[in-house]
Every structure is written in C-alpha cells, then in structure tokens.
Symmetry: C2
Amino acid sequence: MVEPAGSWVEVRDQLRARGLRWTPQRRLILDVLAATSGHVTGSDIVDRCRERDAETTPSTVYRTLDVLEELGYLSHSHGADGREEFHVLPETEHGHLQCRGCGGSWELAPADTGHLVGDLERSTGFAVDIGHLTVSGLCATCQAAGAGPAGAPGGAGYIEGR
Amino acid sequence: MVEPAGSWVEVRDQLRARGLRWTPQRRLILDVLAATSGHVTGSDIVDRCRERDAETTPSTVYRTLDVLEELGYLSHSHGADGREEFHVLPETEHGHLQCRGCGGSWELAPADTGHLVGDLERSTGFAVDIGHLTVSGLCATCQAAGAGPAGAPGGAGYIEGR
DNA sequence: TTCCTAATTGCGGCATGATGCAATAGCATT
DNA sequence: AATGCTATTGCATCATGCCGCAATTAGGAA
C-alpha cells in the first residue's frame, strides 16, 4: 500500500501556503518518512537520509522535522532514554508504552490514558499532551524473564535491571 | 566543618558495604544534593559542583549519579525536552507533571496514576515505572494565558507538592 | 605502616540535538 | 527570463550525556 506521491504534494502545498519552501532536502526527508512505519528516532531518520544522499546535514533534518511537526504531520515524544521518537502521520493522538527491558514499544489506547487525563483535568485543570507521553516500565515477558531482586538500601525501593 | 548530615554517613557506609568507595568527589556531589530540594537536571548538578570546586569533571558527576540511583538515593526521569531530571531521596515513588508553557513541575499523586497503572497491569501485564513518568502538557494558568508563547518567563520555575 | 588490588577519576572522543551566521536558492512578481 | 525578498541550507560550535582507557587512589590485608 504505497501511497503515491500524493501526500508529498499535500505537504508541499501546505508549506507553500504558509510561505515556507519545498526543497530537495525536504523532499528527501518526506520520502524517507513515507517509507517508515511506526516509530523512529531522530538519528534513525538522519541515517536513512544519508543512505540515499550522503551529503545530508543533520541540522537540516532536525529542523525539517520540527517544521513537519508544527504542520501536524509528525509528533514526537521521548523514549525511556530521553531520545526523541517520532511518529509518522499519527491518525489519532496516542501515547506510548516502552519496555526498558526489551526496548519494545506499544501504542496506548485512549482507554488506557482516559482516566489519567480526566482526573488531572478535573483536579488541577492540567491539559495533558497525550501525544508526548511515554510510559516506561517492564512488559510482561521481560518481567517473567527475570525481574531483578528489589534490594534497595535506605528503603527507597528502586529496581534497576542490570 | 560540617555537620554529619546523617545521610552522608549512611551513603558512605552503603557504598563501602558494596565494595564501592567514598571519595572527595562523591562527597562533594552528595553535599550538593543535600542542599537541593525538588528537581534538578544533570547539568544543574554539574554546575553546582563547579561552584564549589571548579575542577569538577562532568563524567564523574554523571557516573556518581548513576551509582546513587542504583543505591536508591535518587531517581530520574526526562523532562518534556528530554533532559534528565533528578529527584533527591524520593520518599515515595511518584511521577511528574510538567507544563511546557511555564516549565513548572508538580508531583503526581498516587491517585492520579493509579488507574493508568492498574489498567495497564490488568490489560497487558505491563509494570509501569512510575518514578520515570513525566506527563507533559499545559497547566491551567498557561491555558488561560493563551496557550501561545505566553512570554512570562519570570515566575516560572518549580513548584513543589501539588 | 606499607602493600596491593580494583574502584574511580580525568581526559578525550562520540552521539544526539539545538542554534547563530553567511551564503544559497525557492518562488512570486515583473 | 530576470529580479528581489527571505526561507533554508550547511557549517561551526555548543549542550547534555555516555564510554573507553590509562593513571590514580581508597581502603582492606599483611
């Protein structure tokens, strides 16, 4: 199901409509994004662009990603290690679940985050940015595969897999 | 000089009990942490150490923070911008709420995250690491102030408790 | 007190991103 | 097709962290 260049045209027009420009570099980045499914880190995108054009400059990529995010074609959050994770063309806003054991990542259904968002909205008026939410922890498989012993000293109880 | 801030002695003994060492650098870092309340980024800690000892090496600080986290004296998560945020001596594990408008930060009460944790546990068996959770969005004040760039960098900052 | 061993340090370097600046190049107009 | 305005690019550099390596040193044993 390869979407034809259709969406590129859409992006190009969106850019122009805002007085922004359509450049070869941006086209390459969109090209890479179109071939991407799921999540990618910023440096993944840089790497993939370099595969097609070794001259690719990282800052150009990062700046373009910012622009695309502003236009709504992307969203990003931060993985458990703090690195950026981009989500292409999110159909509906959703958060992510990331396992610090296997690195696996899953989308959070609205049902999962509904209570959190509702409770916070009611109690503090805080508007949660779900698309930016990453919940980290251990998936069922990794827990079974060897959860670490708790043993924290002062009673703090922080478990670190190692 | 100096008051045996009890917890230093405790940390020192904890380190020794594990075959780790008590060094002047680690003592300085603990000293800085003891004078810290709430949240600090990694580079904040480096800066504060430098104020007291200009020779401070960043990698030593970061490595010591890792050790202290493993011992349970600290926990860290990532702010909305992906930078590390450390929480000193967390009495109870808790997540954080961070406003992308004013930069303010609040602790999340167990009641706020209870549903999320319980739902995920039940539906997927995923064990959420609450201490690593940062929920970002806009606080009530910033929403009212017009979601925009809302200038007002002054007055922002960290708010403790909730 | 002196020795020894391994934990730490400090340094240099890398990875991921952000940012200031001068040169380049879209693209709307003439 | 040439022109002019300014968005973008590419480069250099900085910020935040992580990591390998050789030299140092904490601290238990002799």
